[in-house]
Amino acid sequence: MSCAQTIADYAFRSLGYGERLLPRSDFTLCQQFTLIGSGMIWNIYFGVLALLAGFVLATAVALGKASPNLALRKLSEWFVFLFRGSPLFIQFFFAYFLFLSLKGAYPFFSPLTSAAYGALVVLFLNTAAYSAEIFHGALQSIPKGDTEAADAYGLSGWARFRRVIWPTMLRLAWPAYTNEAIFLFHATTLVFFAGFPARQQKGDALYYANYFADKTFNPFVPYPILAGYFILLTLVVIGVFGLINRRLNRHLPQEERRKLRLRLQAIR
């Protein structure tokens, strides 16, 4: 079987299109590259959607944490503590079984027991909590002069937030937020190992890498392939976030416009 044929068969295997049976023996490099790459579709799907939705909630929670209203503040603090204080792995397990028992009571919840929706909800809440902490830190370190200037211009309420506070917050938070995005993509690999079933062997990149490692009993091929894909993905994330960073700082004079100087962190 030629490599082009393999790609045609397995490129969208993780979504359920193409050849149904996974290769069982005589694994070629091409098969491993194609299937693991096919699994990356899931990682990107989880990462992008959770990041986009999490961004909105994170802004809200960060504002809630800084709010003068005691109830709102406590609520946001507990939300952040709950999701930052416990392992994501356990959160996945708990959420899966929670959805499972909810499904028994109300059929309305049945889509949430599949990885595509249930895990997305967990990842969304998790990244919202981590990003909220980052945004809250940025919110606290907005220069006093900026808000005073906004007051002097007579801006208040929504206009003040939209035109002064929010852009400054994003600017300050952006390097840390880039890190968070990278870790979120890494965290997506946990989904199929934590309760959520991979129906008909439609799994993510690590699921297929693990499949090959189990079948060939040789971890030295599939895992480096996976690593290569992830390093590529990380580079793309850094590139995209760098572009957004440039847009955020477009008002600065050319020489002050620093490139996104990432202090890549090992852990979040």
Binding site: F89, L206, I267, R268
Partner: protein
């Protein structure tokens, strides 16, 4: 009962891994600072590779890789006149004397061996993170301190031992405490390494029980077991947070940093 033992397993893992990872990290950081070029490259690539790839992929990779590595070494030593290839298609074949642990070993040896592999894997992965933190801390020690020490005629080794290492801890502690939090949150991944830990027992004990098999029939309680684990981890991280902030307060006492200054002002 096994569930309670498995809490002990998690605590034991933390107790063994934390110092080992620190040792690995220390080695990595020293290698990165070394004057010998290959050693420096090794240190740098060790830290860089582990950072760029999801940690769970490493966990899955190293357990098999280390196992095969050990067996391969023993095979080379114990059976020098074995002339068949070790990788026969999808099989990894070594002579019986080289099996680790030996095929006729009692059960506890198998379990301990699995646990040791897990500890080593954790130490390698978290060692890279710790190496990153320690490397940053070593660079944060004011240069004047090291230059003064050299001016007193200390050798490079003496400077490292008497000046650099004692001073670095204050700078390293925030990073290391962060790392401790992440390590706590990574312990449920033990489940993936085949150790019977709390996640395993929560799944086993929580699953549906019927009167045929046990004296305590109950429905699907896995959700409640995982809720328990969630609370356990939340309490554990909260406790660590309190203890670490106490240590930090003790260490900053009298230091010429912003934290130390704030303490002095509060007292006055």
């Amino acid at each position: 009962m096994n569930l309670y033992y498995s809490f002990g397993t998690v605590l034991l893992l933390l107790a063994i891994t934390a110092p080992t990872a620190l040792l690995f990290g220390y080695g990595g950081a020293m290698a990165t600072r070394s004057g010998v070029a290959p050693l420096r490259w090794f240190g740098k690539s060790y830290i860089a590779i582990v950072r760029g790839v999801p940690d769970i992929a490493f966990f899955l990779f190293f357990v098999i890789a280390l196992d095969q590595g050990f067996e391969y070494l023993r095979h080379k030593i114990k059976c020098p006149d074995w002339n068949e290839p070790i990788r026969q298609g999808s099989d990894f074949v070594v002579c019986t004397a080289a099996k680790l642990p030996l095929g006729n070993a009692p059960q506890w040896q198998h379990e301990t061996y699995g646990f040791m592999l897990a500890v080593l894997t954790f130490a390698i992965v978290f060692g890279a993170f710790a190496g990153n933190v320690l490397f940053g801390a070593m660079r944060a020690v004011p240069k004047a301190q090291l230059e003064t020490a050299e001016a007193y005629g200390m050798t490079r080794r003496q400077v490292t031992r008497r000046v650099l290492i004692p001073q670095m801890w204050v700078y390293a502690l925030p990073g290391l405490s962060n790392l401790w939090m992440v390590l706590i949150k990574a312990t449920p991944l033990l489940f993936l390494l085949g150790v019977e830990d709390i996640v395993y027992w929560a799944r086993e004990l929580g699953g549906t029980k019927t009167p045929n098999f046990t004296a305590y029939p109950h429905g699907d309680w896995r959700m409640w077991y995982f809720l328990g684990l969630l609370v356990f981890y939340l309490a554990f991280t909260k406790l660590s947070e309190v203890v670490l902030s106490r240590i930090m307060a003790r260490l900053t006492h009298g230091q010429a940093t912003a934290g130390g200054e704030a303490q002095r002002k509060a007292a006055a």
